[in-house]
């Protein structure tokens, strides 16, 4: 029940109303990662469900591992002319290996909700074979709506034909803590299937044994 006196009081002194409203607006819309409330909603999204990633398993079930050579970070790189898909398949679920079979990646997040409040993604990266954490990788997330044909779960489509990035995502390096675990904000502004592609050592040139790598996951946003 609305109390009449409350509205009478607001009507006679509008200043407190504006102050309270302004504080609420500033709080709700702040983009400061240290103070912005984490997104929440009644029907959060989730990782898309599908077949577990096995692209780094050989025919005999053993791991196919690419040995990372740190010196290859600065190696001269040939120009492939842009033909073919530059990325591995976008994966379902909460874990998988990077496209070059260098790293194993697991991720988690706060509730996946639309809006201007961030969803914090946390990604843990280890070297395939040794399980040692991948440190100092300046991991960053590229976020966009999934390429339409790829969104259907069909294999063979390159997930680089999106029609929409969320302009709030700025590909900033995620904070690393503890070593090999990276966290940062991600934003979604519409429902549907999204791709979150993590880039590791993105400043390195892209040769087969370079520390440079990517792992992408399908995210369903409600």
């Amino acid at each position: 029940m609305l109390h009449p006196r409350r509205f009478v009081s607001w009507g006679r002194n509008s200043t407190p109303v504006c102050v309270v409203f302004a504080v609420a607006v500033v709080t709700a819309c702040s983009t400061d990662n240290n103070s912005t409330p984490i997104a929440s909603c009644t029907n959060p999204g989730m990782a898309s469900q599908g077949v577990a990633d096995t692209h780094c398993l050989g025919p005999d079930g053993g791991d196919m591992i690419t040995q990372v050579m740190p010196a290859a970070c600065d190696a001269a790189v040939g120009d492939d002319g842009g033909g073919g898909c530059p990325y591995g398949d976008t994966m379902d679920g909460l874990s998988g290996d990077d496209d070059d079979c260098k790293y194993h990646v697991t991720w988690s997040s706060t509730p996946i909700c639309r809006g201007s409040a961030p969803v914090t993604f946390t990604v843990k990266v280890t070297h395939l074979g040794t399980n040692m954490p991948l440190t100092g990788a300046a991991t960053a997330a590229e976020v966009f709506t999934t390429t339409p044909l790829d969104a259907g779960g069909d294999a063979g489509y390159c997930d680089n034909q999106s029609s929409h990035p969320d302009p709030l995502n700025h590909f900033n390096a995620m904070a690393e803590n503890p070593p090999g675990t990276y966290s940062g904000p991600v934003y979604f502004d519409q429902p549907g299937q999204w791709t979150v592609r993590f880039h590791f050592n993105e400043s390195c040139n892209d040769t087969p044994d370079s520390p440079h790598g990517h792992a992408a996951f399908h995210i369903m946003v409600n």
Partner: protein, 155 residues
């Protein structure tokens, strides 16, 4: 009971009005600035780059919005003319792929193209999402086939 009669009803209207005033003054343009709205595209009269096409028959002026280009989703305007007589070229199909040669990949978002006439082609959703050296690998087709790849560094 949610709709009190008489004076309190007036008070409710007054409060709602005040909230709208607050919304306009405080929560409108100021709130969420830098938020989800896309950058509007405006192009300088001065070209950022002018490049010759691969065949040498076209001259292409490149403008960006913002200019110089910054990290994020930007707009690009191409003004295409004959290199010889400077006649503006309309009716071309333009396919632009932002690409990072050193990284072996480009952007994951497909730019949209809008032919504006007078040789002008505006491209939106050019998502230069990370710093580094970018090429705008652009293919012209239709009445002619040609190619340009203006390049620049994003800090």
């Amino acid at each position: 009971m949610c709709a009190p009669a008489g004076p309190p009803r007036f008070a409710l209207a007054a409060s709602v009005s005040e909230l709208w005033v607050c919304l306009l003054l405080v929560g409108g343009p100021a709130a969420c600035s830098g938020g989800v709205q896309a950058r509007s595209m405006t192009f300088s009269s001065d070209a950022y780059l002018t490049v010759m096409s691969k065949s040498g028959t076209l001259s292409v002026e490149v403008r960006t919005s913002p200019q110089p280009p910054q990290r994020g989703t930007i707009g690009v305007e191409l003004v295409v003319a004959n290199a010889g007589d400077a006649a503006l070229r309309d009716g071309l199909t333009v396919d632009l792929v932002p690409w990072m040669p050193a990284h072996g990949h480009g952007t994951s978002v497909v730019p949209t193209v809008d032919a504006k006439g007078q040789g002008r082609y505006e491209l939106a959703n050019v998502d230069l999402f990370m710093p580094g050296h970018w090429e705008l690998r652009t293919t012209f087709s239709g009445p002619l086939m040609d190619y340009v790849a203006p390049a620049f560094d994003i800090p």
